[in-house]
């Protein structure tokens, strides 16, 4: 399953639920405010899940790549489209 997480990650309770719901074959794409979850000092990202973040949202919020957890991959829109084609379903949070 594909997840799009765009809520502010400072809202711990929803982020933790998303991270707990996501399974081993899942990908969570962080977008919008959600990209702040990729910060090194951000919440724990379970490594059974693939974590990606939208490059443009990091740039727009002034977040540099060296501030991120190494486990988070960076993507652009074409890859977001391809993921939405590859996975049959997308869960948007919130």
């Amino acid at each position: 399953m594909l997840h799009w997480y765009s809520a502010a990650p400072e809202r711990d309770s929803l982020f933790e639920l998303c991270a707990a719901v996501a399974g081993p074959d899942d990908t969570v794409v962080l977008l919008g405010e959600g990209v702040r979850a990729a910060l090194a000092a951000g919440p724990a990202l379970p490594d059974r899940v693939t974590w990606l973040a939208m490059k443009t949202d990091l740039a727009a919020q002034g977040i540099a790549e060296n501030q991120l957890k190494a486990s988070v991959g960076l993507i652009e829109t074409d890859e977001l489209v391809r993921l939405a084609c590859r996975y049959p379903k997308v869960q948007s949070w919130p």
Binding site: M1, R11, S13, L14, L17, V21, Q91, W93, P94
Partner: protein
């Protein structure tokens, strides 16, 4: 439109508290539209969204739109779930809710997502 409407097993997650933005209202409207259209629908209340299930204690000034939930049983929607942790956090674990719910944790919510044909 000439296509025949083929309803799909749909799951909705409601995560926002009532009255602080139009979002919870609009998600509820969408749920009721699906139910009224005889779509097979499952709903999961998570995070502050569980507050929609709390019994009404509204001042009359604000429209009690969560009352619309009372229509779900009439539409035959009985797949109503709530997140266990959120019910506890918001003090609703031992409260009589507006409608009967099944209580689940992340594993059960995940299974509901897997079982649905469509996530809305």
């Amino acid at each position: 439109m000439t296509e025949v409407l083929k309803p799909r097993e749909t799951l909705l997650v409601l995560s926002e508290a009532p009255h602080i933005s139009s979002r919870s209202r609009e998600r509820l409207d969408l749920l009721l539209a699906l139910a009224a259209g005889d779509w097979p629908v499952t709903v999961v209340f998570v995070d502050a969204g569980v507050l929609l299930l709390a019994p009404p204690a509204e001042p009359a000034e604000l429209q009690d739109y969560p009352a619309g939930l009372g229509m779900l049983p009439l539409f035959g929607v009985d797949a109503v779930w709530a997140e266990r942790g959120a019910l506890q956090r918001y003090g609703l674990a031992d409260t009589a809710l507006r409608i009967p719910v099944r209580v689940g944790d992340a594993g059960e919510i995940r299974q509901l997502m897997e079982d649905a044909a469509c996530l809305m």
